[in-house]
Symmetry: C2
Subunit: 134 residues, 2 copies
């Protein structure tokens, strides 16, 4: 018997690196941060990420080739998530919107498109970074 998801050592290390970060990390940045933990090659990171993405503990931000720990790791929601990415400070806000998800699902149904994954990303400037820039 185990908990919902037993992470291996590498998976735990990668997840911790992402949880500790205040902004998304690229795979190679993760690699650099885990060198002293014995990481030597990109594949060690990518393999761990693959699993973490599958579990839902981590999200990939497609528009910046980077990864973040899920903001709601308890209820690892495999539904449609949206991300607001600040291009100044790198901060990311994760949110959901059922109406948007439904509307996309409606479109897909009507067009007989079977979505496997939905990507919604807002690139812009967060509140903190827009202060003083009217």
């Amino acid at each position: 018997m185990t908990t919902a998801h037993d992470l291996t050592k590498n998976q735990s290390l990668v997840f911790s690196a992402l949880s500790d970060a205040r902004a998304p990390l690229s795979a190679y940045t993760i690699l650099d941060r885990l060198r002293e933990d014995g990481f030597r090659a990109p594949l060690q990171v990518y393999r761990a990420l693959e699993k973490l993405l599958e579990i839902g503990l981590v999200h990939r931000l497609e528009s910046i080739n980077a990864f973040v720990a899920c903001a709601h790791p308890q209820c690892h929601n495999h539904g449609t998530m949206a991300f607001a990415i600040c291009e100044d400070c790198g901060n990311v806000r994760e949110f959901t919107d059922d109406q948007i998800a439904e509307r996309l699902a409606d479109w897909a149904r009507t067009e007989n498109f079977r979505p496997h994954k939905t990507i919604i990303e807002l690139r812009g400037q967060c509140q903190a970074c827009s202060i003083g820039e009217p």
Copy 2:
């Protein structure tokens, strides 16, 4: 006096390559297809793409690092576009949904986030490719 946008030679070549393709092309695929037109280096493609994206004649599909000619080049809509990308045949459907755009704008307003660009991409299987796979 000129038309709305005079494209340079390189820009025209890149745009033609994308218009002729039945699926999105990567920058390096474009490069390969334009070798006999004198293209030698990635930057020639990337520079042309940069301009075409700015004008709105081309879209970048963030989740697959590829580019498509805009489906509505007349009214080059700089608003929020959505793309449904078939992972089997590569075909892409471009569409808009005002309600989704509004809802995202509402979220941004509420959170004081200033979006510069919005990415919506559905990855999945198109109707044609799902026939015979119940």
